[in-house]
């Protein structure tokens, strides 16, 4: 048992080196497949991060009348906060609203002058409500409308409704499209790999029939090919990671500026995960392709 395992290992390694051309071709194809899968993983992460950032920028603003009492505002705020759909409620007091306003308009002398002439702070307090999902804004808005609270001056949901709807649509579409793309790419990668390995093993067809004739068992014939498949996967995984490294190093600062996610940092912090996924997929691809390709030559 151990002897034949050792012999299978040795035959696998020797076969890998002596069929260097075939090994290189297989490794090349699996590397491309893994590179595509790795890139898709990182693009998907970019999308997820930027989508969640976009989502966090969407909110419903409730403007209170300046005369609203603090108790009434607090009561409404906590009832909104209690809604299951609500992720976060940010309260901005009248004073903070005024300070913000001053800061935004500090270069606009007319507005500043007008503000100075007013004896009172003309701005009311506001709350910004963020939902867990963009689709939930509708029901939060409904809740707020139903309150018919006299202290509410304006709810800007209807103003934002159009852009919120549009964003919801885009987010859904992008997520679905990236999922479909990933599936299509993975299927393509698997088929190309399978075909390459099948061709590689086709050249060994004669050898397999000879091995059977001298009385080698199926396991003894299959073993070295399976080991070669695994080796293709491991080498390809390592090469794909080595290719991804400089590309992400280069892209990192650019994506950090645009998407607020540095893909290189993501790559480094999640290296174990990405390493595991790529090597795992590579090994599975090589192994399954070898087993399937050789199965047809082992039938009597």
């Amino acid at each position: 048992m151990f002897t034949s395992f050792r012999r299978i290992l040795r035959a696998g390694f020797i076969g890998f080196w002596r069929n260097a051309y075939v090994s290189l071709a297989s490794i090349f194809v699996i590397t491309v497949a893994l590179f595509v899968i790795g890139s898709t993983m990182i693009i998907d992460q970019l999308l997820t991060v930027s989508l969640s950032q976009l989502q966090s920028k969407v909110d419903i603003n409730v403007y209170f009348v300046p005369s609203a009492s603090q108790e009434d505002i607090d009561a409404l705020t906590s009832s909104v906060r209690a809604l299951p759909e609500v992720e976060m409620v940010t309260y901005t007091s009248r004073e903070e609203a005024l300070a913000d306003y001053r800061e935004k308009n500090q270069n606009d002398s007319v507005t500043m002058q007008a503000l100075e002439e007013l004896k009172e702070n003309p701005l009311g307090a506001t709350i910004a409500v963020q939902a867990r999902e963009t689709s939930q804004y509708e029901s939060i808005n409904q809740f707020l409308q139903e309150q018919k609270s006299p202290i509410v001056d304006e709810i800007n949901y209807t103003k934002n409704k159009e852009s919120i709807d549009k964003l919801t649509g885009i987010i859904d579409a992008v997520q679905q499209a990236s999922f479909v793309t990933l599936i299509v790419l993975i299927i393509a990668a698997v088929m190309i790999t399978f075909n390459t390995i099948r061709l590689a093993i086709y050249t060994a067809k004669e050898e397999i029939s000879v091995m059977r004739l001298v009385g080698a068992s199926n396991g003894f014939i299959r073993g070295p090919f399976m080991l070669q498949g695994v080796m293709y996967g491991v080498f390809s995984g390592v090469i794909a990671l080595l290719i991804l490294y400089p590309i992400l190093l280069w892209l990192g600062p650019k994506t950090a500026a645009f998407f607020e996610l540095n893909v290189f940092d993501y790559f480094v912090t999640n290296f174990a995960y990405i390493f595991g996924v790529l090597i795992g997929i590579g090994v599975a691809l090589g192994l399954v392709s070898s087993v399937l390709a050789i199965a047809r030559y082992l039938r009597v």
Binding site: T3, S4, R7, I14, G15, R18, N19, E206, E207, S209, V210, M211, R212, L213, V214, G215, A216, S217, N218, F220, V300
Partner: protein, 227 residues
Amino acid sequence: MIYFDNVSKRYNDGRSAALEEVTFQIEPKEFVSIVGHSGAGKTTLLKMIIAEDKPSSGQVFFESLDIHRIPRTRLPQYRRKIGTVFQDFKLLLHKTAYENIAFAMEANGRSDEEIAENVPQALALVDLTDKAWNFPNELSGGEKQRVAIARAIVNQPDIIIADEPTGNLDPIATYEVVQILRKINDLGTTVVMTTHNKGVIDELGRRVITMDEGRIIRDDATGKYVL
């Protein structure tokens, strides 16, 4: 030790029969030559013995074992009792002469010590000790066939099946190969060989089975090549 009992083989087209009601037997330690024109059924006959092909009707026995009832998973064990030699050598091209012979022993589950001892002996028997580490494409036709014979005998099989072993060889290589087969037979192994070569048959002076259109038409104990 091999019994053919009324064996027929028809291929799918239904018209031609590769074998037609063939009945004969081979005794231990015999050297049997099978002759006949191309398509007479010689190779089909050999394929029946190594379980590469199944008869349409009739049975083939190896001693008391019905060859075509051996479960597929047990076939490798059965094939290890038989050494095979082919016209096209069927060596493993990515293995050296030594490794080709050693592979047959490894497949048999022999120990490393046995392999280290028996492979050089087999190479010496076919006079190829100095070519042990050459790959098949570095060997001549005769040398390749001698490697194939060494591989066939290294597991000490009960029987050697040789399908046109001299078909691709020049006269000198043919002579060498036949001498080796004869030596193996003298050492006690049954040999079944198909051939087209009249000189080989006449020189051997052993049993000759003559086939034509799937039937055995002559079976002579010390035959000549008659066609």
